[in-house]
């Protein structure tokens, strides 16, 4: 789960990680008031969306005059901001963060991740601040310092000093930077984060460190014990259909093809999408109904997939382990009677209670295309798309 930059900076303040003075604003007028209250001789107006690459996309604007703050906010709020991480349609900007402009002497990168290779929290730092760290790591890996944290003892001071020295800091700066690393680690550990990034961490003209940008994402599996993080979830940043699907305990991701998919299990769901594509079709979505799917859950899955106007064929591929084919079949019959289904349905059932499931479908008089195997199901779906089989 992601939160906005202004929310991350509030969290940083709580952990005494230095951040610029700033105010969040929902309107151009509020942005102007924010700048007046902040004072100073220049301001930065930053679009608040859950996607990186805002700077290059025109989502971070500098203002020398108060009027400019209002103009920039006016321009950003209500616009669709397209960055390299948002996709073509971009993201709606609902709010901006107004901060005092800073006098920057040097920029660094500081981050924490859970490294999948060593399965531990790992501190990442670089003197190449303000740049895409993955690009830096790919082009010049020697410029990226990794320090692995032993979970038994946590991040140690000496590790922080070692990292600070490795990115070229010296004198007092080493202890100052080490303190920030330690605090960022505490925040990361306390809040069940998966990723924290300060890019750039800057040194200002008067020699102070500041987290100029701030980004964190959190473990969705840990939200049960992180209520104050869960409260900061911004549903406007998520696809409303994905939010609705998750409310029914369905895992749905919209794609741009025309074969709607309802599958159980994430691995089988991906493999099914891949098979459709190998037979010349394109999947309209990823949908995992999970284990123990009730007839109601299957009916909800139908509704969500069919709301997508691009769907021309609907394919079900269920390999029932803890699921039951009879419940799945009941769900299909219920969905078809409740909804207006105008596209061909391809059904492949296998596993627990298969015969009962097939009987329910046969007795219902439902029009559908039967498939025995995964290959069948994928091939018949693509044929049905072309109007070849029904």
């Amino acid at each position: 789960m992601n939160i906005h930059e202004y929310q991350t900076k509030d969290l940083f303040r709580h952990y005494k990680i230095p951040v610029p003075e700033g105010r969040m604003a929902h309107s151009a007028n509020k942005a102007l008031t924010a700048a007046e209250q902040l004072g100073g001789e220049g301001w930065v107006v930053k679009a608040q969306i859950h996607a990186g690459g805002r700077g290059k996309a025109g989502g971070v604007l500098l203002a020398k005059e108060l009027d400019e703050v209002r103009e920039h906010a006016e321009k950003l709020i209500g616009s669709q901001l397209v960055t390299k991480q948002t996709g073509e349609q971009g993201r709606m900007v609902n709010r901006v963060l107004v901060e005092q402009m800073q006098d920057i002497k040097a920029e660094y990168y500081l981050g924490l991740v859970i490294n999948r290779a060593n399965q531990r929290i790992t501190l990442i730092a670089s003197a190449a601040g303000g740049m895409d760290i993955e690009e830096v790591a790919a082009k010049s890996p020697d410029k990226v310092i990794n320090e692995v944290v032993d979970p038994a003892v946590g991040l140690q001071d000496f590790q922080c000093r070692k990292v600070a020295a490795s990115i070229g800091l010296s004198g007092k700066q080493i202890n100052m930077a080490a303190r920030i690393m330690k605090r960022l680690y505490r925040c990361f550990r306390d809040k069940d984060a998966l990723m924290a990034e300060i890019n750039p961490l800057v040194i200002t003209g008067d020699g102070q460190f500041l987290a100029l940008d701030a980004k964190m994402s959190f473990d969705g599996n840990a939200l049960f014990r992180q209520p104050e993080i869960a409260d900061q979830r911004d549903f406007d940043e998520e696809d409303p259909k994905e939010v609705e699907a998750s409310g029914h305990d369905l895992n749905y991701i919209a794609l741009d093809g025309s074969v709607g998919c309802i599958v159980n299990g994430a691995g089988l769901a991906m493999a099914t999408m891949d098979a459709i594509s190998l037979y010349g079709g394109r999947p309209a979505n990823f949908l995992d109904v999970g284990g123990g799917a009730s007839p109601e859950k299957i009916a909800n899955a139908f509704r969500i997939v069919l709301e997508d106007p691009n769907v021309k064929v609907l394919m079900l591929n269920i390999y029932a382990g803890i699921n039951r084919c009879d419940w799945i079949a009941e769900g299909i019959v219920k969905a078809v009677s409740d909804l207006e289904v105008n596209v061909p349905i391809v059904v492949r059932l296998a596993g627990t209670n298969l015969e009962e499931g097939r009987k329910i479908l046969a007795d219902s008089g439902l029009q559908y295309i039967h498939a025995d195997r995964l290959s069948d199901a994928a091939e018949k779906s693509v044929k049905a798309l072309a109007g070849g089989a029904a």
Binding site: R120, P151, A222, L255, G265, A266, G267, G321, G351
Partner: protein
């Protein structure tokens, strides 16, 4: 021999008296698994499905000689239950629970160091040695005994592959789903090493997915150390970058994470790569025939 579990394994269930644990313990017993009891703190001394309930894993191990545990406790308490099993001397811990916080697993993995225990999961369908021992939630009847070892992330894609193989008369020595989380109890490499040593396994099928580098690590080791055919599939060729595809670990974070890149690497490492999930069974069969010709 099979790997991890066999007919001599003595199995306990943690969270024994819960609904799901009860059902799957009964299914395991029906297949002939030696379920010797279970643990539910506070219910020690009771009897459940004709087997003793213990307050602690320590008690269960001392009184039953259990060496395998299946964990069904809720996510908030899973890490504690797994560490209790490690401390109690359990050798194979299968964690069915879905939704365990990642940092909990980071701590569990640290605690595991120095202990002779293998953790499978969390978020796994479990482990099965057909007609000998079932410690998981998979439908037992599709697993026919045979000589192919299977390791997968996904549960249902594992069932799919196993059915394709059984239609061709190919049975299973042991099948393991390691689960879809980014920090797993055990990885493909650990299991590959066990299959390489197993006299009853002639070939290994590895079913991976986008994200991480486990499949490539296991295949690299197998090329240098394993004298058995390795067949590989990677799910997620059509997955968009940056999205979590159901499994928390199934996410394309960089170019090396894509299905295409991983399949290319596997092919370079002499793995028999399956492009289409519908062809898994046939590819396993062909790779066996090819090896016989060479021999």
């Amino acid at each position: 021999m099979s790997i991890l579990v066999n007919k001599d394994s003595k199995v306990i269930f943690q969270g024994f008296t819960g609904q799901h644990a009860t059902f799957h313990a009964q299914e395991a017993i029906r297949m002939g698994t030696q379920v010797v009891g279970g643990v539910t703190p506070g219910k020690g001394g009771q009897t459940h499905i004709e087997r003793p309930v213990f307050d602690t894993v320590k008690d269960a191990v001392e009184q039953t000689g259990a060496d395998v545990s299946v964990v069904f406790v809720p996510p908030a308490f899973t890490a504690d239950a797994v560490m209790e099993a490690i401390d109690g001397g359990i050798k194979v811990i299968v964690v069915i629970t879905d939704g365990v916080p990642v940092q909990d697993m980071v701590r569990v993995k640290r605690y595991l160091i120095g202990h002779d225990t293998i953790i499978v999961g969390p978020n796994t369908a479990g482990v099965i040695t057909p007609e000998a021992c079932k410690v998981g939630i998979m439908p037992a009847h599709i697993y026919v005994p045979g000589r192919i070892g299977v390791v997968s992330r996904s549960g249902t894609l594992n069932y799919e592959a196993v059915e394709q193989m059984s239609e061709l008369g190919l049975g299973i020595s042991t099948s393991i789903s390691i689960g879809g989380d980014p920090v797993n109890g055990c990885d493909f490499l650990t299991l590959m090493k066990q299959f390489a040593e197993d006299d009853e396994t002639d070939a290994v099928l590895m079913i991976g997915e986008i994200g991480g580098s486990q499949e490539v690590e296991a295949a690299t080791w197998a090329r240098d150390h394993m004298d058995k055919p390795l067949i590989g599939f990677i799910a997620g060729a059509t997955a968009p970058p940056g999205r979590t595809m159901g499994h928390a670990g199934a996410i394309i974070s960089g170019e090396d994470d894509t299905a295409q890149a991983k399949m290319k690497r596997l092919a370079e490492l002499d793995v028999h790569v399956v492009q289409n999930a519908a062809e898994i069974g046939r590819t396993v069969q062909q790779s066996l025939e090819r090896e016989e010709c060479v021999a």
